[in-house]
């Protein structure tokens, strides 16, 4: 499964990129499992993704809880809580 990953704000800064294409194994079924799997890609990924309580996610441009499925997803974004307005 090929996924377009997007990172924003300090998640993007810490990882060092705002976008990458990844190909997780089929047993990666939820956003949380994807975060676990991404954490092994680099020390920067591990650092950015360490504190789950500070992370939010969107699957195909809709906010989802971290236990949401990524089945069929094309684009997954990981970022801190939003602060617009």
């Amino acid at each position: 499964m090929t996924l377009a990953m997007l990172y924003f704000a300090w998640v993007r800064e810490t990882i060092g990129t705002g976008a990458e294409t990844v190909d997780p194994p089929v047993d990666v079924a939820t956003v949380a499992q994807l975060i676990d799997w991404l954490s092994d890609r680099s020390p920067a990924h591990a650092e950015a993704l360490a504190d789950r309580g500070r992370l939010r996610a969107a699957v195909d441009q809709r906010f989802v809880p971290l236990d949401a499925t990524i089945d069929g997803a094309r684009e997954v974004a990981i970022f801190p809580p939003v602060t617009g307005g």
Binding site: A9, A58, Q61, R62, F63, P80, V82, T83, G84, G85
Partner: protein, 145 residues
């Protein structure tokens, strides 16, 4: 009329309000949020999630139109670097009745703060930091659900 815009240029208050007022309604309300000038912020930079942001703002505008029978609504949010005193966001609503117009403005700005993917980074004398989300914003958005 529904206008939902994300832009890096300064927000044109007069043009946006004129468009909303052009609906011929009896009541028009607006809300603007600014980079505060009094708390030591030298620059505020807004990052967003292109595509999702516009869709969320448009969806909130449509929800407001349906809920308060608005004749017109505009939501304009700026991104990129901004100086103290500059306008970050403008919402404007036109309705047959004053309470509808004002309530819809409150709804739009409350929900925008929790539902739209923007992130603020502020630069102060002591350095730059990403602004933390506030629990009270989640509470303010909750009252509209």
């Amino acid at each position: 009329m529904i206008r939902a815009v994300v832009q890096s240029e300064p927000i044109d208050l007069a043009a946006t309000l004129a468009a909303v007022e052009g609906s011929g309604s009896g009541a028009v309300a607006s809300f603007s949020g600014f980079v505060r000038e009094d708390d030591g912020v030298r620059e505020l930079a807004l990052e967003h999630y292109p595509g999702m942001t516009e869709a969320v703002l448009h969806g909130l505008a449509e929800e407001a139109v349906a809920r308060w029978q608005l004749h017109a609504v505009a939501v304009v949010h700026r991104v990129g670097p901004m100086a103290p005193g500059e306008r970050i966001v403008l919402v404007a609503t036109a309705a047959p009745h004053r309470h509808a117009a004002l309530e819809a403005c409150a709804f739009l700005i409350d929900r925008l703060k929790t539902d739209a993917p923007f992130w603020k980074r502020e630069r102060r004398e002591e350095g730059a930091r990403w602004v933390a989300a506030r629990d009270r914003d989640a509470g303010a958005a909750e009252r509209w659900r």
